[in-house]
Amino acid sequence: VRHATTGDEVSALLLAARTEPRAFGEVFELVNDDLLAYFYRRCFDAHAANDLAQETLARALVHLDRFDPARGNGTQWLWGIAHRELMTWFRKGKAEARARERVGMRLLPLPDDALEHIESLVDAQDLQAALADALAGLSPSLRRTVELRVGQGLGYEELATELGCSVGAARVRVARALARLQLALGDPPATEVSA
């Protein structure tokens, strides 16, 4: 059963976690499935979605004192961090682990049942249809970039050769194309948090 999370609930728990750290476990219970679905819908990779969700929560833990409910509720704050993690993943091609390392979290390998759970959070057919629409909405050059990088797995040097640009420009094109796909697949607002 998934939670109908409200930003106020999460806000209260984040504030409580400053003095009662176990409240952070309740934050996890409320938002983890939604974070996993958010990332999986954009990465199409359950392992990456899991890493990104854990890194988001670890980063939130590190920066807990910076949460200010006057500037937005708890889910908005968490999803702001999640968006930043996602952008980093787009650029680097892998999830950060710095926050998890900083707080000493062990990186637990994802077993098959957990992987299937993540995949079950998102309707695959809806996702495929949305992705096809999003790809169709890209410019031809950006669509070609995605096809070469994601579809054919070209490295950045080969991609640059294929596209006739510098390696740096190729990286920027990939980041831009994936960011636009992400936008086309839906913004990360707090309203998405509810199941």
């Binding site: 392992h47 990456a48 854990q54 833990l61 920066h63 952008m87 637990l108 759970h117 740096g168």
Partner: protein
């Protein structure tokens, strides 16, 4: 949606234990939390299984595979070949090459000059594109290689660039832990960003790149501000030690959001 697997209870325990350590409310670790959660149901069973596992030196997960431990990689023999996991540690190309050679995995480890967080990091893992992909699967830091695959895996590892050497893999200067994190943010006006950089890191050589519908290219900041006074920072990267590119765009064209933690 499937029932939530126990794995996520373990993740939650890791997180709560980290929260306890971070917030200074005691020394309960994840194993202890997990044990507490299990105790009401099968305390004796958990203890017995753990003790047996410890004595005979096996993991708690039943497996028919043989595991080879190395400091930078974890190699597991599977029924169809091997699975290699590149661990999240600081790698050196020579050490990694040696470990992969010892494990019998045909690999070319390539040193990529870079800086900051990328030194020692696995930047890219891939199979040559001129071979069919059948027989190998690369998933971030995990590689599955079937028996009989004839290719040579390529692994790019970040190494510290020589003084003055251009980075082949640039560093995101606005990321957490980097020199401009929370000094400059995406969306900051260009003049404000220049002043902040000059104050915090006056030795940083900044190349200002601009991309608007009217102006495009690398220009002195003064000229950019005359032509496009309202441009804002989109991203900033380090392209060699102490040398940065900062991209300026119209606010409506921002590709990245400011870090909410700043």
């Amino acid at each position: 949606v499937t029932a939530r697997p126990n794995y996520f209870d373990s993740v939650r325990d890791e997180l709560v234990a980290a929260a306890v350590r971070e917030r200074g409310a005691g020394g309960v670790d994840a194993d202890e939390l997990a044990a507490r959660r299990r105790r009401p149901r099968a305390r004796w069973l958990v203890a017995a299984v753990a003790a047996i596992a410890l004595v005979v030196g096996i993991g708690l997960v039943a497996t028919d595979t043989q595991r080879v431990e190395a400091s930078g990689i974890d190699v597991v023999q599977t029924a169809t070949g091997v699975r290699v996991r590149f661990l999240n540690v600081e790698h050196t190309p020579a050490q990694l090459q040696r470990e992969l050679d010892d494990a019998g995995i045909a690999t070319r480890v390539i040193a990529v000059p870079t800086g900051g967080p990328w030194v020692g990091d696995i930047l890219e893992i891939r199979a040559p594109v001129d071979l069919p992909n059948d027989g190998i699967r690369v998933d971030l830091l995990d590689v599955e290689i079937d028996d009989g695959w004839q290719g040579v895996l390529e692994v790019r590892v970040g190494v510290e660039a020589l003084p003055g050497e251009a980075y082949a893999y640039t560093v995101d200067l606005l990321a957490d832990g980097e020199r401009l994190h929370c000094v400059v943010s995406a969306g900051d006006p260009a003049a404000d960003a220049a002043a902040a950089i000059a104050e915090v890191d006056p030795a940083l050589e900044v190349h200002w790149l601009v991309r608007t519908s009217d102006v495009r290219g690398e220009l002195p900041l003064d000229e950019i501000l005359v032509e496009e006074p309202d441009v804002v920072v989109d991203w900033a990267i380090e392209i060699a030690d102490g040398v940065a590119n900062v991209q300026l765009v119209n606010a409506s064209d921002l590709m990245f959001e400011p870090d909410p933690a700043c």
